[in-house]
Amino acid sequence: MRELRGLAASNGIAIGPAFLFKQVETQVARYQVEDKAAEIERLSQALKHASQELDSIYHQALAETGNEIAAIFQFHILMLEDVEFIEKIHAKIETDSINAEAALKDAGEEFARILEGMEDEYFRARALDIKDVVGRVTRILLKVNGNGAGKLVEPSIVIAQDLTPSDTITLDKSLVLGFCIAQGGPTSHTAILARELGLPAIVGLGADLLEILDGSRLILDGNEGILIVDPNQEDLVHYQALHESMRVKVLKARQHAQEPVYTKDGRRIEVAANIGSVAGAKNAVDFGAEGVGLLRTEFIYLGRTSLPTEDEQFQIYREIAEVFGDKPVILRTLDIGGDKEVPYLDLPKEANPFLGVRGLRLCLAKPDLFEPQLKAALRVRATQNLKIMFPMVTNKAEIRLAKALLEKCRQDLIRENKPVAEHIETGIMVEVPAVAVMADQLADEVDFFSIGTNDLSQYVMAADRTNNAVSPLAESLSPAILRLVQEVVRAAHAHGKWAGMCGELAGEPLAIPILLGLGLDEFSMNAPTIPLAKQIIRSLSLEETQQIAKAALQLEDAQAVKAFVKAQFPGIYA
């Protein structure tokens, strides 16, 4: 028996054999062909097929992982459609009378060699992209199965150095019990994806992970970040019981996922989903979302070369809102800054983009960007229960400006004879510490607050969540964050407004009792966590959670808070 420790990246227990994920090397045979035209046709079919594959991966990546990873696939698609590249392959088939695979290999190597010979490491690294694309087309030509993912034939725990988005997307998720990754932090995209899929995951397990033999028996404890290799009987029995009780709990939770939630003492709590695509909306309904607490709209803006029009946005928002019928959908207006690459926006590069012109700050500075979105939202509100939420708000003046712009847009729409809502509920994200502190003063300008704990935590703790060296400091369960949550909820209630949370904390089992106790009205989270969150809320009374919250706020750090809640509710995960 051996034990490896990493960072708990996604809750849950998995017991099963190890599956070592490796990329497959394809062997390419070289032979003479008679019918060159047929060979060229075979190539063109394969290129088309590869392009379709990449296109669907691109869209999936855009929805699941965001722009940066998606952009890689867009780059790959451009390579597949490249006239010079295709001409070179054709020329080799024509003049050397060789098969498509060999011609493709030669042409790819020619380009890759030029790049590999460059001084600049950015260009050298692109040689790998060419090999990746060539590999994909070769596999299609040879009709061999995808990548290492194809060898996954029984339910297994996937072990890898790191997984690229195309790796994770090609894995048959019905056979994946969990992920163990040698590299990466809790915000790496494998971790994010695992949480979205509701699969347990540990990241940052180190190089030792890769010494595990294919097929070894494993226990993956995603709650604690422990991986046990070749477990003894005692561990096996313990974890099997835990796993079984979690499984039953999840099953039971799924059965009740569509029902509304009341605490044991009868307080109605709203559980909504965070989504960022049309597909995400449908998925969220399946998991029992009672609306959308956070509709990320960035996906509409990223990965394209011109600004989306008002009509385009109107169609997409309406489609999403219709999925939820009369349940509320909170649209967060565009939340990007200088760290994002949006060519048509011409965003200046900033020394510190997370403290720069982003979110509402950017939108207020660019009415041409902002107005089409506001108008699209107002038009959807004419028929659907859509609300608006502004991100990265810092003070009252900004809220007033945004609301004034919203009113201007409404007047414009009336002039344009478009159906428009009389009123749209308008709230703000609480991410900037100043807003949390001043919430009592801002409450009369808004209809609701939604606390974005991910950004709030890193701003309050002055710790970058993506920097492994300091990310533990930015844990949202820190009493410093919880105290601010308390301030915001109090301020909202004192003014007859409501307060929700759309940060990852809202779906964290250990946080739910505290957040309930602090009086949070709405919990918005990744869809797969909804059923369990609902069950946890049902099992609690407000009175007991108020005691828990009060005590948690007096503890010294996030670790202490976690230990305290676990001690209070030993069965919270299982």
Binding site: D82, Y122, D129, D346
Partner: protein
């Protein structure tokens, strides 16, 4: 034939993302568009061709366009390069 000579300010040059944007933009025009860097000339509508030019930060390139929308092509592409591909320097 229209042409313009520019300096690429992007910190990694015409690398994956900027090159993708450049090629995508170039493909919007009917004109035949070429980019010259040093002694090498590449096809602006080919990502492979643009990458293998190895245009890095500070490189001076010349864009040539020939065809009915050659002027628009030069304006559009030079704006993209001048705007530093949507990132500022």
């Amino acid at each position: 034939m229209a042409e313009i000579t520019l300096t690429v300010k992007h910190e990694v040059g015409l690398h994956a993302r900027p090159a993708s944007l450049f090629v995508q933009k170039a493909k919007q025009y009917k004109a035949d568009i070429r980019v010259k860097y040093g002694d090498t000339v590449g096809n602006a509508k080919s990502i492979m061709s643009m990458l293998t030019l190895g245009v890095n930060q500070g490189a001076i390139i010349t864009i040539y366009a020939q065809g009915e929308d050659e002027d628009q092509a030069i304006v559009g592409l030079s704006e993209l390069v001048e705007s530093n591909f949507g990132e500022a320097v």
